[in-house]
Symmetry: C2
Subunit: 359 residues, 2 copies
Amino acid sequence: MELTERKKKVLRSVVDLYIRTAEPVGSKAVAELPDMKYSSATIRNEMSDLTSMGYLEQPHTSAGRIPSTAGYRLYVDELMMDYRLSIDETKSISSAIEEKMQRVDKLVEKVAKLVSQATDLPAISAASRRSISCVKRFDLILAGQGSFILVLMLPGEQVVNKLIKLPLNVTETDLKLLSAVLNAAMTEIPLEEYTPELLDKVMRSAGSASSLVPVIVDFTQETLRNQGSTNMAVAGQARLLGLPEYRDVDKAQRVLASIDEDTLSNLPAVMQGSNGTKVIVGPENVADELKDTSVVMTKFDIGEGMQGMIGVVGPTRMDYAKVTARLSYFAESLSKMFAKPEQPQLPEGISEEPKEPNK
Amino acid sequence: MELTERKKKVLRSVVDLYIRTAEPVGSKAVAELPDMKYSSATIRNEMSDLTSMGYLEQPHTSAGRIPSTAGYRLYVDELMMDYRLSIDETKSISSAIEEKMQRVDKLVEKVAKLVSQATDLPAISAASRRSISCVKRFDLILAGQGSFILVLMLPGEQVVNKLIKLPLNVTETDLKLLSAVLNAAMTEIPLEEYTPELLDKVMRSAGSASSLVPVIVDFTQETLRNQGSTNMAVAGQARLLGLPEYRDVDKAQRVLASIDEDTLSNLPAVMQGSNGTKVIVGPENVADELKDTSVVMTKFDIGEGMQGMIGVVGPTRMDYAKVTARLSYFAESLSKMFAKPEQPQLPEGISEEPKEPNK
DNA sequence: TTTAGCACTCGCTTTCTTTGAGTGCTAAGC
DNA sequence: GCTTAGCACTCAAAGAAAGCGAGTGCTAAA
């Protein structure tokens, strides 16, 4: 059977109504829509066709129709009207983002909150660095009896430090020598090349400061490893409970549990290939708990070898148009913010990174 | 009427049973407890007395009894049996804490998760620094054309850094001079003494590097201000939904909303005075949404001018004994960890010490 | 091809009934 | 004088039955 224009129109109307009401949609309701020029009987026939074509479903014989997964898919891919963000919306999103945000992990948290607020759904936000990283420079600063500060400069304006304490005395000369050795031998090379042989070589060149080498290298390796890590935050889980489909507490709990930060750690992988906004409708989901829950995600580049992702989780009948619009706008604003880091809206640049000592 | 030993025993049994079952407790159930040597009729009389004394309540005439707020209070303050942590429990708590945790904010997050796991309830964790802080030392490291790294040493082994970029050239000599000036004039003094006059003086002494002073001082001030801030994390909200009293989604949502990180920002204030473990039973709560929700909190010192707090939120009938025991153990382990930061740490001495609650 | 009409279906809601845990009271027992 | 067995009474919760009404599919007429 062919999917005529009228059928598409009916399908769109059904999905739109269902998104709004969360109740099965009857032929009469569709017929009464302002720009629907046919009677309920006609609509009924069309809906019957759409059902046999697999785009709609009937919870039971005498109920209205609800969109099937295929129906949502078609809706998202073709039928969905562009949602125009109102000036107010763009304004509130931009101004929220523009507040200066200091560290990446705080930023991720903040963004998750904002996205959740903007969509009224639970939101996830993540930022991950690709781990192709190296040390650009080592600095050692004497900090007192047997303690010194190790400062690592990494690509992308990042600076990491650690206060190191040792049960032996350290002299300025030791540190000078050691930092020269480290800078000569261990900068600009990836983690993999930190071989035992290299360490050995460094140790030997370090002379009296050689006992400092292991602790320095340990920290460096750990730092480089963490560079490839992902910051992630979830916000607004409670919003899920406001939705009729999650009045069933068990269901809500299952979904909430599965969007816990721990559980989601593999999510970035999902986003790997695609760029832009991606909609995963209900059963297309990998996780079993999310079978009747949809996920909308947007990936974006934030420069400096970092990637950002924001997404929301909601019922299959969520307002895809609105959600994707807001998400995209968010992503865009964030990209912009990162693209020109020295611009006025971000007075300090985003390169600082206050660190605590204590591994 | 006098509160006899037997009445206390009955009350304790009622609370214990209610904590376990979440159902009104009948006289028969109490009478059938192993060490209850009276018949249900006798218990019935005692329960009737306890009801008129205000320690128990009846949801309706022909139902069992549930503890009133006064009943819980008495239970928590006097009746509650010490809960002995099993070796397994202490082990799992200690080993969880022992994992190296890097920064305070990450630690707070991690602890919230652990506490939530250990109690199976939503948990809050916070760490706050008293803001009496100063810079112990400034270091400036040249990092390239017109950019350098500012390193601040703060009390308590903290080191903070920031990469600063400027549209002008900076020389090693400039930085040497400047750091000498800064260390002479601006260390060991509190934020308040960063007066315009002082800045002026520093600027003048800084010579050709004077243009760097404002940006350095800005960052320093901001850092010191942040020192007084509070890190806070909430974890395991979803666990609330597993409890029968929160099957009512609206209720659950209200509670969850009110333990959102934002809302709770005033919580540290509540903990101000008291030390040790504090139990807030239901209606004793300030927030209206938490009227039938209890909060158990423990405050502890983690040295270096920092204070920690962990707490859980749960139904009024939560297992206070178990929860306070675990919370205290957590607090203790954390304190220990901070007290001897370089120690390999714990398992010896399973000195749990389920705290006597303070009224 | 569209539409009005009509019989039919079936999940909700409401009302009524039943059930049983739990109570308070009384009178007998220790 | 305490304790306990016994019994009538209460009342929420669970189950069953009835009625409602939104929605359908089909048919026949426009």
